[in-house]
Amino acid sequence: MNKKYDVIIIGAGISGCAVAWKLARYNLDILLLEKEADVATGTTKANTAIMHAGYNADPNKLKGRLNVKGNEEIREVSKKLNIPYKEIGSLVVGLEGDNLSVIDELYQKGLKNNVKKMEIVDRDWLFEHEPNISRDAVKALWAPTAGVITPWEAALAMAQNAVANGAEVKLETAVEDVLTEDGQVVGVKTNRGNFAADYVVNAAGLYADEIAEMVGIEKINITPRKGEYYIYDHAKDFAVNHVVFPVPTPISKGIVVTPTVENNILIGPTSQNVESKTDLATTREGLNEVYKGAKKLYPELDLRDTIRVFAGLRAADDTEDFVIEAAENVKGFVNVAGIQSPGLASSTAIAGYTADILRDEGLTLSEKKDYIETREEPVRFYEMTNKERAKMVDQNKDYGQIICRCETVSYKEIIDAINSPVGARTVNAVKRRTRAGAGRCQGGFCGPRVVDILAQELGIDPTEVKQEEGNSQILEYKIKQLLGSKVMDNA
């Protein structure tokens, strides 16, 4: 071990990246460790992408205290870091036959949590503002402060800003043990060597209980809870204007119908505890449940123009709350565990709360003099007008070559995504940063080109280019390599 860090953060999901971002404003040496080849490859990339208003969170839990704060903070933060965010508001829609009193209960809970601007709206309001909603709609809770965000972009933006302010990010670095001496954290052991630190923050998502066990903490128990989704092409001609929830039940907020920031309709999630932390399979039953739930709210919605199905796993602790606290049995170890919904909405508040805990544990937080508050807006051709695109290509001809037809992504955007700090190393990482491959043909056209560009920029063979995790090479063999290595039956 050579350099000693002030803080090592384990896990570069939204929580770990937010903590890194928060701490990077102080004079600290920060190291953010991630076992996969990109940030945000766990729960952060597979959720409903909602900045919840905060009426659904239990006021007696940490969730309740941090949701509204995070929701309010994101307005400034998304602007400063250029994170795509739209405050479209959310509706909890009660249909005939639902337990409509829940809507009033949520309103009351929202007041307790300090959610602003909520209203109960009637059918006429609904039919005017959400024209495709079921004609069985009776009333709804309208929360204009809710919004939608691009969660992996939020995590990436925070990580990149942390790096701009001196933090280090190490990808493909898995923590194998947390090292302690005399009841004090001294560092971590990883597959790429040991790193020393006075403080360790456990933001390991689905694996937070396993990391906590490394310092003898048994009380955290993470149950993976699966949610399945359909996502539609943004060209689908069907209006959904807000984040629309059904009346919730005790276990789940229900099947949501929402536009994403990029205008893809997203429907889901289900809510099902599973055995394995890597069980990301969608199922026929789950997808049917999603579609049924969506159709209850939007009877005219069909499955035409869906472009993808996917599943995510919530990291649910037994307490069904965030577990954000300093360890009692060992000094310098802080858990940021059990971050399920509203974890994304609460992320900046979680970061602030964690910083406070670290300060209480003795970490000096002195503000940096030359702190860089902002992140430059990434070039996003798909958002630009033709005039703006013309200007960009005049500045740099590499913008003139469009690689992804469906999402209008240029060559320059792709190489920049690979070569910027916390750069893309995989096909999916390129997709998350640029949207290349995220459109209606799902990489059918641009896939081979993106593989080629990654190979060139990373200096590797195309057969080494991965889709996402460990063994996910896209191409297994060079042509003619297979001939002669097998015994073939002749016809």
Partner: protein
């Protein structure tokens, strides 16, 4: 042992269903063909089916790493994989013109392997 096989003739788009009765290599009866082409197709298919082999060959210093090729005439189906091996081992040098013979008389079938497109040299 007398066997019966039903084939779909591919000589023309009609696609007649031709039934062949045969014993080993000996044709006993052919039925169902609308024209003599069907008869010769069926005979050949039973005794010694042949096909055109379209594939690719590796190119050195070419604009692309592969050049598409084909056999100049049909070759026995049973030779397909061996032909693929021979073609797979070879690498040709760009430039190549469409129709250029790249391998002569492959496996003594009388068929050459020719390029089915122009392949210019690499431009950078």
């Amino acid at each position: 042992m007398i066997e019966t096989k039903t084939l779909t003739c591919v000589a023309c788009p009609k696609g007649c269903e031709v039934t062949v009765e045969y014993e080993g290599d000996e044709i006993i009866e052919i039925k169902g063909n609308a024209c003599p082409q069907g008869q010769s197709y069926a005979e050949e298919e039973i005794v010694a089916p042949t096909r055109i082999l379209p594939t690719t060959i590796r190119v050195k210093n070419g604009a692309l790493p592969l050049c598409p090729v084909k056999t100049t005439k049909q070759i026995p189906l049973e030779n397909m994989f061996e032909a693929m091996q021979i073609i797979g081992k070879k690498e040709i040098e760009a430039p190549v013109k469409m129709g250029e013979v790249l391998i002569e008389n492959i496996l003594d079938t009388g068929a050459d392997i020719v390029a089915t497109r122009d392949m210019p040299k690499e431009t950078y």
